[in-house]
């Protein structure tokens, strides 16, 4: 664990740094491929639950009851063979009857309890109108749109529009991936799943906002120095928050995993599973997107600003000069460990607003651009 802490420190100091922002093309293409696959899956169609198709589901909890017995009873009652009978993980028998049967649930339950010798109380029933799923989805979609608009406005005001756009792209990205996984794996989409999808909204943005906050802090007054470009500052911020991002994601995933594997496992498929499965996929996608999609995209948008372009030029010029000086120094035999200095620069850049030296008595690293 301490080694992990150490990594956290080295990431923070910039000794170890993953170039997330620089490799944006890699992430973009990776995301593009995933999203494409997800879209393909979507084109194949989602497996919609009974809430979307309409019909009724009866669940019977009776030890020793076999699928064929239940099927026989259902067929007798319905006078056809249309009922779908399955056993669930927990050993219960699930009978699914399509909406076309037009048989009142009460009648069906009464008949079932007679035929299978179970009390009506032991039969759980759900009857759904065919448009209920549509109704829920419509509302979910409405919620999605309202939320996106509001959050975009909020981010644009609290931060800036570029962040809002980047966050929004990351959000859509997460949703697409999650829905795509559902389509590809063939998980059933239920209202519970829709809840899960909607929660991803908040979560995905939560992650992104945490990262953006540091990036913003890091890039404060960036135009007043010439040591690093915006992308580099953003990447440094990303690396500093990497451990935090990983931790928050892990901690967020743990309860969801408990819900998914333990809660769901105890009951078999159900609302618990539906919500947590969507959340689990969405959270993982959200962590990835906040690091590999949102921030690089934000940096890219930012680099388009004229002042950032100027900065990039200044940095390049300074680096060229430094390299030249370095080369000269090396030629004259002076060996100054350039690396340590670099680390210091990063650090002071981060400290930014601090107006009192905390610890270092070395004066070299104080950037002139500090205020």
């Amino acid at each position: 664990m301490s080694r992990f802490s150490n990594l956290g420190h080295r990431l923070y100091q910039g000794e170890v740094s993953f170039d997330f922002v620089g490799r944006r093309k890699l992430w973009y293409s990776l995301s593009a491929v995933i999203v494409l696959v997800a879209a393909l899956g979507l084109a194949l169609g989602l497996k919609l639950g009974i809430e979307f198709e309409g019909g009724s589901v009866y669940t019977i909890n009776k030890p020793g009851l076999t699928v064929s017995q239940a099927k026989g009873a259902a067929d007798t009652i319905l006078k056809d063979t249309s009922a779908l009978v399955q056993s669930t993980d927990k050993g219960a028998i699930k009978i699914q009857v399509s909406a076309e049967e037009q048989l009142p649930a009460a009648t069906f339950i009464a008949e079932l309890s007679k035929d299978l010798n179970v009390t009506a109380n032991e039969i759980n029933a759900q009857v759904v109108g065919p448009s209920w799923g549509e109704e829920i989805s419509k509302k979910a979609l409405l919620g999605l749109v309202i939320f996106m608009v509001l959050v975009t406005i909020y981010l644009a005001i609290a931060f800036e529009w570029r962040m809002a756009i980047a966050a929004l792209v990351a959000l859509i990205h997460d949703l697409l991936i999650t829905i795509g996984v559902y389509a590809l794996v063939g998980f059933e989409v239920t209202p519970g799943t829709v809840i899960g999808f909607l929660t991803i909204l908040g979560y995905s943005l939560y992650d992104t906002v945490v990262v953006f906050d540091t990036v913003k802090e890091n890039a404060k007054g960036i135009t007043r120095q010439n040591k690093r470009t915006f992308s580099e500052a953003a990447n440094a911020g990303l690396n500093q928050t990497l451990v935090r991002s990983i931790n928050t994601t892990v901690v967020a995933l743990l309860p969801v995993a408990a819900l998914l594997f333990i809660g769901g496992g105890l009951l078999g498929a159900g609302t618990l599973n539906d919500i947590s499965l969507a959340l689990f996929i969405g959270l993982a996608a959200g962590a990835y997107s906040s690091i590999c999609v949102a921030t690089p995209l934000y940096a890219q948008l930012k680099e388009m600003q004229p002042e950032m372009k100027t900065l990039a030029k200044k940095v390049a010029a300074r680096r060229a000069a430094d390299a030249k000086a370095e080369a000269e120094r090396a030629a004259s035999g002076e060996a100054e460990p350039a690396e340590g200095e670099e680390a210091d620069d990063d650090e002071t850049g981060i400290v930014g607003t601090r107006n009192q030296p905390v610890s270092r008595s070395r004066t070299k690293g104080r950037p002139s651009g500090k205020h």
């Binding site: 664990m1 956290g8 759980n124 969801v256 008595s361």
Partner: protein
């Protein structure tokens, strides 16, 4: 900054801690004091039946708050009519009504069936009627009372207040026909005066046959004879096919007697009523009446049927207004009523007239409900789901606690304490809300609460990591704790705001399960802010004063060495830090 002088910068953590402890203890005490020790459980956890009804209408403006409230009132009456106590009927969102029926005696089927029948309002011609059940002995004495089946809501009549010009608009067929009937609506209710029927009301013995007025069509005879409206179980909606004859029940409130009816096919549908209002007839002093206005289709059908009915002899000259299979009124018709306007007059009280107008309006909206989702959960499954949710929540909590302890060591204890406070607050508030606003904890809400464990822990992490960043910078713990706070605070507020926004939007636009989930999520997000401001931050401030944390004990989670500061640097930092202290 690191000097002892900076002490006020720590704020007064003790006060904040005392404050939140008082709040927590107060809420928990209130919870026990009021006796609401557990959250109210939703149907999916407690067992029972939950019915979701969605309003459907071709006219979107018809789905408005007033109409929804009327619907809730009617549904509540219906559910309660079947003796299901503790059933709750509430609107959710703009067009949804949720009916929750707890699993009491396991016999909710009738209630479900009854609720499922959305308010169907029909006008059907009366073919025959008869009192049923045990008649009070009195009726024999008062033949006049026999008139009452029709007497109360006696006559229907009308006139068309057709717009003066009654412009040559042939488009409105109803109106075109009415030209001849321009009479003042109130002038013509001549018919109102004639409650003609007078059943001879013989002895109570076998009145079913003896008291029957009119002719029961052959195919209904068996049903009609069998029907005993005084038996609740038989008071069903027999209107399976609008095009066929049927039977129905009606209660005469004046006589306290149930009547049964043989009715003809549906002549006019309730949805063809434009509006119905109760008004007081000032001109004739006839008292309260209900004015009806039909739409084009309704006008035509009404005109045709009234024309025909007027020629019939009693009781076949009556129009039964049937709501959900029950005759609510059966006024006479003495003449063809064209023009789409009609008045039902009789000895109404104001309340009666308004109630009838409500019923008519309700059917007329046309606001129909579709049973979107009916879920019946056995108490056993409900209990299982609750258990699964609790187990999952417990294990999730333990996992988070373990992770915090392993990764944050001493600080992990702080996050555990924070989670405990948060959980206590959430539980107490949920329990109190159950009593206060009827909040019911359902399965998605449990999920929301479990997911919230992650959100709460995330806030701690954001703050801890910032403190650790400061320590990495070489700051001693106390200033580090203070310096980390403003930035951690902003991050937490911003991200919590986003979460809360999400929950709020979800809550406002969604229904049912989604709403329960959103509510919990919003509540816990708000509590997260409270806990981090009033509990975590002050607690850490206090702990930073202890030697264990301030010196970066290796189990404190703030050991500078473990955080990776390289020894030489650290040594120097230490010196400078202590030097700073001496300033």
């Amino acid at each position: 900054m690191a000097s002892p002088k900076s002490r006020p910068r720590d704020g007064y953590p003790g006060r904040a801690l005392a404050f939140i402890l008082v709040i927590t203890v107060g809420l928990v005490a209130l919870m026990f004091g009021t006796g609401h020790k557990t959250p109210r459980l939703g149907i999916d956890l407690a067992g029972g039946t939950s019915i979701t009804l969605t309003a459907k209408s071709d006219n979107p403006s018809a789905i408005n708050k007033t109409n929804m409230d009327t619907a809730v009132n009617i549904l509540t009456k219906r559910v309660n009519a079947f003796g299901v106590s503790e059933a709750e009927v509430q609107t959710q969102g703009s067009n949804t009504i949720i009916v929750n029926i707890p699993n009491k005696d396991g016999d909710n089927e009738q209630a479900i069936k009854d609720i499922g029948q959305t308010a169907k309002l029909y006008f059907r011609p009366v073919l025959a009627l008869a009192p049923t059940g045990a008649l009070p002995t009195a009726p024999t004495a008062s033949p006049s009372a026999g008139a009452t089946p029709s007497a109360s809501p006696s006559a229907g009549s009308s006139a068309a207040p057709v717009p003066p010009s009654s412009s040559p608009s042939a488009t409105k067929a109803g109106r075109a026909v009415t030209d001849g009937l321009k009479a003042d609506p109130t002038a013509s209710p001549s018919a109102a005066a004639t409650p003609s029927t007078a059943p001879s009301a013989p002895s109570a013995a076998d009145m079913s046959a003896a008291l029957t007025q009119g002719t029961v069509p052959p195919e209904l005879q068996a049903d009609f004879a069998k029907l005993d409206c005084s038996v609740q179980a038989q008071r069903l909606d027999y209107q399976t096919d609008p095009a066929k004859n049927t039977v129905a029940c009606s209660f005469d409130a004046d006589q306290k007697v149930w009547y049964k009816f043989a009715l003809g096919p549906v002549a006019v549908e309730g949805k063809d009523i434009d509006k119905a209002i109760a008004s007081f007839d000032t001109q004739q002093g006839a008292g309260w009446q209900v004015q009806l206005k039909f739409d084009d289709t309704g006008s035509k059908a009404f005109a045709a049927t009234t024309g025909q009915l007027a020629t019939q002899a009693s009781p076949a000259n009556q129009f039964a207004i049937v709501l959900d299979g029950k005759v609510v009124s059966h006024p006479y018709v003495s003449q063809s009523i064209t023009g789409g306007n009609a008045v039902i007059s009789g000895s109404f009280t104001q309340t009666e007239a308004k109630a009838l107008a409500n019923v008519l309006s309700f059917g007329a909206l046309p606001l129909t409900f579709e049973m979107s989702d009916v879920t019946t959960v056995s108490p056993q499954l409900g209990g299982d789901q609750l258990k699964a949710g609790l187990v999952a929540g417990g294990i999730g909590m333990i996992l988070v606690v373990l992770y915090s302890l392993v990764y944050y060591r001493g600080l992990g204890l702080v996050s555990i304490a924070g989670l405990v406070v948060s959980a206590a607050l959430t539980y107490a508030i949920m329990s109190l809300l159950g009593a206060g606003i009827g909040f019911a904890l359902n399965l998605p809400a449990v999920c929301g609460a479990i997911v919230a464990i992650g959100i709460t822990a995330d806030s701690f992490i954001v703050y801890f990591e910032r403190i650790r960043d400061e320590v990495r910078e070489g700051a001693p713990l106390r200033p580090a704790v203070q310096r980390a706070w403003p930035r951690a605070r902003r991050t937490i507020l911003v991200s919590d705001f986003v979460s809360f926004l999400c929950a709020a939007v979800l809550y406002l636009v969604s229904v049912g399960k989604v709403q329960g989930f959103a509510f919990t999520l919003g509540l816990t997000t708000a509590l997260d802010v409270v806990v981090i401001f009033l509990f975590t931050k002050p607690l850490i401030t206090l702990l930073a004063r202890t030697k264990f944390f301030a010196d970066g004990h290796k189990w404190s989670g703030l050991d500078p060495k473990r955080l990776g500061a390289r020894p030489p640097v650290r040594g120097r930092r230490r010196t400078s830090a202590s030097a700073a202290k001496e300033v």
